[in-house]
Amino acid sequence: MIKIKINGQEQSWDGDPDLPLLWFLRDEVGLTGTKFGCGQALCGACTVIVDKEAVRSCITSVNDVAGREVTTIEGLHPNGDHPVQKAWRQVNVPQCGFCQAGQIMQAAALLMDNAKPSHDQIREAMAGNICRCGCYQRIENAVHLASTGV
């Protein structure tokens, strides 16, 4: 039996320990905010935060996070008012929105690590997250805004 803390709640799993965390979250726990975009760590749509690090849940097994703390978009802030989320709304970032949970989790992890990233650092840190709608200019501006105070 694998135990994981997800958004502060204990969850357990006694199925295939190799099951990607993404599908455990989405299909078994019902946390559908984390998205499937590629399954190969190429797009970032499935990004969650494990302890303090951004992780691609599509190539991370449930076993890999046994006993650790996982934060998904649903758990980032109780009212959805994390500075990154607020900045996203202020800048009207999303188009279709499908990539945005992953983008927001990646940006939140970036700011934990580097509270005042430069534009170049933002562009580099966010390069693992694809937005097929092409919201990059606004994502960059929103991360910058979140880092300077919303």
């Binding site: 099951l19 749509a45 978009i73």
Partner: protein, 771 residues
């Protein structure tokens, strides 16, 4: 009052609804299959609104009835139906906002309700062709105005005053003479009993009184949900007892299942069942390809199970499709005369007598949509009833196709439209919903069919592949006197009808026969090309290769004559005029009447001039940088783009700045226009730099975002500026979702030439600059 769910009143607008025998869902969209009935409601009379659109000719036309689209609750909450699909354009906000504007509803008291697929009730729901605002600006205003008048009439009756003395203002009706006021909620029940005003009697707001339209101050309704993970996409639907499925499909279009061994798949933890899925022979529109489904308790187990399947396929007639050889075929066809689809003067003779002939042969490969959300659908089929939840661009078409596929009446099918995680034309084809319906029927349980990214690339409906060959003849003075453009590409029509070798009028009409240049001798030709895979609509469709070819040729002519690119472009566009295309038999014109939406070169010139001014054309740029320009009319909008590129000595590209000017006529939300154009620049850059799907042995060679890359943040333009042309009075609205894409690649390619002296004629750029 509850305007919604009053199906008996549906035909309240009978006098505006005519029943016509025209092509049913014109595959059908313009491919000219006849039979069946369509309800068409041409509500926009010329007298009333100065222009007409093609909306009434779409399957099921337009329904203008507030009782279908608006409900006012006693607590004052106004519910407005969004009947088009949201895939990132903002339409789910924009259309209801138009209604709210006109009915004087306070947007903070408005709830948006997504319509299910029902075109008899809501009118056409095909969210494609950059049509939503174009076709619905006036109908939505009329719906809002009708609702407002009904509320005003109810208040006037209550107070016993003439209706002319009352006025709806921001969610209340006021009688200023007596200072009395009643909220919309208080009037709801009475207003529902009022008779519907006639469309012709409606007086719409003057633009100066707009509170929301054209202001760009209202954010999309899903913004909070998107940023908190609550927004519901197709894959997020969960039903009690739902099974999770992935399907192994034939790797070659037209291939068939020979045999499969489920033993190893069944050993995977969580896998419950392996079963065959019915397939249809190619081509059969959007019907499933068939294959083997793995059913499991979660998607991860289903994918792992599928990896363990042993399958033998028969590749069928397309097993030899190979991209290198196919390109040669297209090139050879482009070097010989083909079906003439436009002819003015005598281009052949003029080319012979020309002082100089410039030849450009341009290649654009197959492209895949790779919308961020891969295709996915949930179905629950019980007996002769089916309910679907899916991210579909065509909810009405999906309903029809599910009914046909299951052999049940359309009324028994409910299609719930989720948010779409991107569409770009892929989700106009509902094959994934049909797969889910078939599986659910057989399993007797709700099923979610999830496509992986690999499935999306291997079994999609690709953008065509094309060779565009242009020969331009110049006289001694450098004036272009002849233009011969041959376009060779497999047609989307091949997905509907076997043996198709010519492009359909809607494809020819995307930048070939509607080319706006003022040249005395023009010949447009369409040599034959057969298809060997499923071809489908991709954001802006044939405009991608056409704008690439035509606008690159402008650059080439400028280059050959030592002229400035922008001056050359304006000279070719020529005098401000309405282009006459007498020789074109079937000018599609995006389905719009030509007198409302003619090719107006004054508007094309205007966007070129505007982008040149705002984008500082001719500015000094550092060494290794270059500026390029391109302009194109598509989806009846006019767009011009300037790209600044920097190419370093290793051939690495960066894009310091992009400027785009757009004239999309009367618009609703400039903020969403901006976001569409910003996104279009990224998509244009993606396809120019990387976009290429290739075939070998009939199979797509790319698998995922690693070998079919798209632009990421670190390579995206540093800044994209959008300049919107203010509309003239009564300028009809035109497309926004797609037109931004076509001019990007040629502007970039022209910029690369300016920076490096290298002329790229084959996309993607790939490693071409590295040598």
């Amino acid at each position: 009052m509850n305007f919604i769910d009053n199906p008996k009143k549906l035909r309240g607008f009978e006098k505006h609804v005519r029943i016509e025998k025209v092509s049913r869902r014109s595959i059908l969209k313009g491919l000219g299959v006849t039979g069946g009935f369509v309800l068409a409601a041409p509500v926009m009379s010329r007298q009333a609104f100065a222009y007409e659109t093609g909306a009434g000719k779409m399957p099921h036309g337009v329904v203008v009835d507030p009782r279908v689209f608006v409900a006012v609750a006693p607590d004052g909450i106004v519910t407005i139906v969004a009947h088009r699909s949201e895939m990132g354009t903002g339409v789910r906000t924009s259309l209801p906002l138009i209604v709210a504007e006109e009915m004087e509803a306070d947007w903070s008291k408005v709830k948006v309700q997504q319509a299910h697929g029902d075109e008899v009730k809501f009118g056409n729901q095909d969210t494609d062709g950059s049509r939503s605002t174009r076709h619905y600006l006036i109908p939505m205003r009329q719906i809002g105005a009708s609702a407002r008048i009904m509320l005003e009439q109810a208040a006037a009756k209550r107070w016993g005053v003439p209706a002319t003395e009352v006025k709806a203002v921001n969610h209340e009706v006021v009688h200023s003479a007596s200072g009395r006021k009643l909220g919309f909620g208080e009037l709801a029940a009475d207003a529902a009993k009022e008779s519907l005003p006639s469309v012709d009697s409606l007086k719409l707001k003057a633009p100066k009184d707009f509170r929301y339209l054209t202001k760009g101050q209202i954010s999309i309704v899903d913004l909070h949900d998107i940023t908190t993970g609550k927004a519901g996409y197709g894959a997020d639907v969960r039903l009690p007892g739902m099974k999770y499925a992935v399907i192994a499909r034939p790797p070659v279009t037209g291939g068939k299942l020979v045999s499969f061994d489920p033993a190893d798949a069944m050993k995977v933890s969580g896998v419950e069942k392996v079963m065959q899925v019915r397939g249809w022979p190619w081509p059969s529109k959007f019907q499933p390809l068939g294959g083997v489904a793995v059913i499991a308790r979660n998607t991860g187990a289903a994918i792992k199970g599928r990896d363990a399947l042993k399958i033998v396929w028969d590749d069928g007639p397309n097993g030899k499709y190979e991209s290198v050889a196919y390109r040669k075929e297209l090139e050879e066809a482009a070097r010989k005369p083909g079906l003439v689809v436009r002819k003015e003067g005598d281009a052949d003779a003029a080319l012979k007598s020309a002082d100089k002939v410039i030849v450009g042969e341009y290649y654009v490969p197959h492209l895949a949509h790779v919308s961020m959300e891969p295709p996915v659908a949930v179905a629950d089929v019980k007996g002769d009833k089916a309910e679907i939840w899916a991210p579909v661009q065509s909810p009405g078409g999906t309903r029809e196709d599910v009914a046909k596929t299951l052999g049940i009446p359309e009324e028994n099918v409910t299609v719930n439209v989720t948010l779409l995680g991107g569409g770009f034309g892929r989700k106009s084809k509902c094959d994934y919903a049909l797969e889910a319906a078939l599986l659910s029927k057989e399993l007797g349980a709700p099923v979610k069919v999830q496509w992986t990214r690999e499935d999306d690339l291997h079994n999609g409906f690709l953008h065509t592949v094309s060779v565009e060959r242009i020969e331009a003849g110049l006289d001694k003075s450098g004036k272009v006197i002849a233009w011969r453009h041959r376009s060779v590409a497999p047609s989307i029509a091949s997905t509907f009808a076997a043996g198709t070798v010519h492009q359909a009028s809607f494809e020819l009409g995307m930048g070939l026969v509607d080319m706006p240049f003022e040249i005395a001798n023009i010949s447009c030709e369409n040599p034959e090309a057969a298809a060997y895979t499923r071809i489908g609509w991709f954001r802006s469709v044939s405009n991608i290769p056409r704008a690439f070819a035509v606008q690159s040729m402008v650059g080439e002519i400028a280059q050959a004559t030592g002229r400035d690119q922008k001056d050359m472009l304006l000279e070719l566009i020529g005098s401000p005029r309405i282009v006459k295309l007498a020789s074109v038999k079937d000018l599609w014109n995006y389905g719009e009447p030509y007198d409302s939406y003619p090719i107006d070169t004054a508007r094309l010139r205007k966007v070129v001039e505007l982008v040149a001014e705002k984008g500082e054309w001719g500015r000094q740029v550092p060494k290794g940088h270059g500026l390029g320009i391109a302009a194109h009319r598509s989806f009846v909008s006019y767009i011009a783009t300037i790209v600044e590129v920097a190419v370093d000595d290793k051939g690495k590209l960066t894009i310091p700045r992009v400027d785009t000017a757009i004239d999309c006529g009367t618009f609703v939300n400039p903020e969403r226009i901006q976001s569409q154009i910003e996104g279009a620049a990224i998509m244009g850059l993606s396809l120019a730099k990387y976009g290429e799907i290739t075939f070998k042995d009939g199979k797509v060679q790319q698998k995922n975002y690693d070998d079919f890359p798209v632009i990421r943040m670190d390579e995206s333009p540093l800044v994209t500026n959008v300049h919107i042309v203010p509309p003239g009075p009564d300028t009809p609205p035109s497309g926004v979702g797609e037109p931004g894409v076509p001019p990007f690649a040629p502007a970039l390619i022209n910029a690369i030439f300016a920076a490096t002296g290298k002329r790229i004629r084959s996309l993607p750029i790939g490693k071409q600059l590295e040598a």
